[in-house]
């Protein structure tokens, strides 16, 4: 009987430890300081393709910048009188996401033809609320391949579609798409002239699958227009020849494709050495059978 009572006390003591511990944890959680979230946003427009906002959420936790994943961000079209909600996105494991404008024409600009977008995070148990505003004007890049005196050029024009006028003195970059990242061609920046145009020569001999090259004309992270990108595909590259050694006899091939020299010499050695070993074993028999 005494033992049973003791057991009850012990059980209660254990239980109370857990209950108190979890209560303290809650209290601590309530008192814990929330971290600030820093939102980054960049407007990107692909000509003939989608327009979107690249969103990144970071936070400084214990003196280290960390990406904030799994937070819901709301995107608004900010107008003078009201904010129109355009949609919501949740950041991925890298703290990033892309908000794609389903219909760019539905977004309204202010009286100066400037689009104002508000990106907002409401806050949660761990992070404080945060906001980020970006503004941009609409711009278009038209690009095409031209040939002058047997030299290939990319000609590109930057225009304001609302005013139907060229945009001058903006720096455009011409680059060609490669496997891991684009390769810049010519100068890094090519400034648009009075007609909003640039013309950049394309060097010969750039390799491409079936000779096709995809060039990018980019207005990169402009304060006024964001990032605008136009793509031009042209069959002016040097076709990549498949140099696979898959069917050849190489050192790294499977056993049925062993190089011939490697079949001949080691096998000659093996046969030679084992031939002598067999000869020596025969000699043992000869010794055994010798009558003299």
């Amino acid at each position: 009987m005494k033992n049973r009572i003791n057991f009850r006390y012990i059980f209660l003591a254990f239980l109370s430890v857990f209950v108190f511990a979890s209560s303290f944890q809650n209290l601590n959680a309530q008192n814990a300081k929330k971290n600030k979230v820093r939102l980054k946003a960049q407007y990107i427009k692909i000509m003939g393709g989608e327009s979107y906002i690249d969103i990144t959420a970071t936070s400084k936790i214990e003196k280290q910048n960390v990406r904030v994943s799994g937070i819901e961000i709301t995107v608004y079209n900010e107008l003078e009188e009201e904010n129109i909600e355009l949609g919501k996105v949740t950041t991925n494991m890298k703290g990033e996401n892309k908000f794609i404008f389903k219909n760019f024409n539905s977004i309204l600009a202010d009286s100066s033809n400037i689009y104002n977008i508000l990106i907002s995070f409401k806050g949660n148990e761990t992070f404080k609320k945060a906001k980020k505003r970006i503004s941009f004007k609409n711009a278009d890049i038209t690009a095409k391949m031209v040939v002058k005196d047997s030299i290939n050029y990319i000609r590109a024009r930057l225009t304001d579609p609302n005013a139907n006028s060229p945009i001058i003195e903006q720096d455009l970059t011409i680059q060609v798409q490669r496997l891991f990242g684009p390769l810049i061609l010519g100068d890094e920046f090519n400034t648009t002239d009075d007609d909003g145009t640039i013309i950049v020569p394309i060097e010969e001999g750039i390799p491409g699958v079936d000779g096709n090259l995809t060039f990018e004309v980019v207005l990169n992270d402009s304060d006024d227009y964001g990032t605008i990108k136009a793509l031009v595909t042209a069959p002016i590259g040097t076709p990549i020849i498949d140099e696979s050694t898959f069917d050849d006899r190489k050192m790294w091939s499977p056993r049925n494709k062993t190089p011939i020299f490697l079949l001949i010499f080691p096998n000659l050695l093996i046969v030679g050495i084992w031939g002598l070993i067999v000869y020596l074993i025969i000699n043992l028999f000869k010794i055994s059978k010798s009558k003299n």
Binding site: M251, W252, S253, P254, R255, T258, P259, L262, L263, P266, N267, I270, I273, W274, L276, I277, Y279, L280, I281, N283, L284, K286, I287, S288, K289, S290, N292
Partner: protein, 436 residues
């Protein structure tokens, strides 16, 4: 005839004394413990070892490399000294041949212990890819086992015939066994001609085969693009290291055999003196290759190589590295330069230290490299960053060493450790020369 009687009296196999029985019992116990550990490894898999994704070659492989190196003594002592007409080799050759056979047989067994699925051993032959150094190894080891056996067996034939007659009345059953293995040896001219020719072929063959074995063993590492292994120095480095390990092992076994069998008259101080000089030369050559292996990369190291060298020279493996280099190579050379250092007892201790140093040398060739891959070790438990053998690995490895010693002990027990016929012929020739 008198000469032969004395030789038989001195050299014919004898029963073990009490110490011998204790020695055999200890070896058998160690082997049983190793077999139990191995069975457990087969049942549970290699999870019982401390080998993981990075340290995937542990002491099984370093032990294998040690056995391969030690087996080189047959090529050096028997073949090279024979081809260079060094007559003083006679009392040493049998022990050298025995060590060679025991080592290479154990090398073959040890490599299968490292296989998680030894039942698939045959696949190494069936699906052999001749481009792979592993395949070369798979071919050269049985070849060396065959040639090492013949190297021991051919010169034994006359001695086995002598022992057949010697034990005819004393131990008829043992005599019958000697008779069977002597292959009806009567010492006829035809038999002698075939035997002499065969031994000459083997003596020539075993040199390139020994060199091939050591080189292939080295190429297993140097053809792998890994820091510390990817070196053109490796083949010569391994050959020099093999001479060191082999000669040192021979000195140790010779000393024990001489002492237990009281063969001071046959295995003299002169033999130890000459072996001491040979070992000193081998250590110096090996030191030279060590300098090539470690000093040159310190001048132009890549980032990975720098880390690897730092670990060896001043880091976590530095104690072992310097112990092996100074204790196992530099100090023996200094001691062997003195005549007193080349006396049997000091030579025994020097040989023992060099053998132990040679074993650990293989460990530091293999393990630190595996723990320094080109890409940093990430996403694995902390314990996988380091390697030290588990109890299973130690038990199995020590058992293989015990097995090698048991093979040597049994062969020393049943075979004449100094060739009887050859010694008799040499003494007869010497007596005739004195008379004339």
């Amino acid at each position: 005839m008198k000469i032969q009687d004395k030789l038989l009296n001195d050299l014919a196999p004898r029963k073990f004394d009490k110490l011998g029985v204790i020695w055999i019992s200890i070896l058998v116990l160690i082997i049983i413990a190793g077999i139990i550990a191995y069975i457990d490894q087969i049942i549970k898999g290699q999870v019982v070892t401390n080998m993981r994704d990075y340290a995937l070659w542990g002491i099984y492989i370093s032990n294998f490399v040690f056995f391969v190196a030690t087996s080189f003594v047959g090529s050096v002592i028997v073949a090279v000294l024979r081809l260079t007409h060094n007559e003083w080799r006679t009392p040493l050759v049998r022990v050298a041949e025995i060590i060679t056979l025991a080592s290479i047989v154990m090398a073959g067994i040890t490599i299968t212990l490292d296989m998680a699925r030894p039942d698939r051993l045959l696949n190494l032959f069936i699906y052999a890819r001749i481009q792979s150094p592993i395949t070369w190894d798979v071919i050269i080891i049985p070849t060396t086992i065959a040639i090492s056996f013949l190297l021991l067996y051919f010169p034994l034939l006359p001695d086995l015939a002598i022992l057949k007659d010697y034990f005819k009345d004393k131990k008829p059953r043992l005599s019958r066994w000697y008779g069977r293995f002597s292959l009806n040896w009567k010492g006829s001219d035809t038999q002698k001609a075939i035997q002499t020719k065969s031994i000459k072929i083997i003596a020539i063959m075993i040199v390139p085969i020994g060199l091939m074995l050591q080189t292939i063993d080295a190429w297993l590492f140097s053809t792998t693009y890994r820091i510390g292994w990817d070196s053109t120095n490796m083949g010569a480095y391994f050959i020099a290291g093999a001479v060191v390990a082999g000669v040192a092992a021979l000195i140790v076994v010779l000393y024990v055999v001489r002492r237990t069998r009281k063969l001071e008259e046959y295995i003299t101080d002169l033999h130890f003196d000459k072996l001491g000089k040979l070992l000193a030369l081998a250590c110096l050559i090996y030191l030279y290759f060590n300098m090539n292996e470690y000093i040159v990369p310190t001048y132009t190291p890549t980032k990975g190589e720098e880390l690897h060298l730092t670990t060896l020279l001043t880091g976590s493996y530095s104690y072992l590295f310097w112990l092996v280099t100074i204790g196992g190579l530099v100090l023996p050379v200094i001691l062997l330069l003195f005549k007193k250092g080349r006396k049997p007892l000091p030579m025994f201790f020097i040989g023992l230290v060099v053998v132990i140093g040679s074993w650990w040398k293989r460990y530091i060739i293999i393990t630190p490299t595996l723990l320094h891959p080109f890409l940093p070790i990430q996403g694995v438990p902390e314990s996988w960053h380091h390697y030290f053998p588990s109890l299973h690995e130690w038990l199995i490895t020590v058992a293989t060493l015990a097995m090698a010693l048991l093979i040597i002990t049994i062969l020393v027990r049943y075979l004449p450790v100094v060739p009887i016929q050859r010694t008799a012929d040499e003494q007869e020739k010497l007596n005739n020369d004195i008379k004339h």
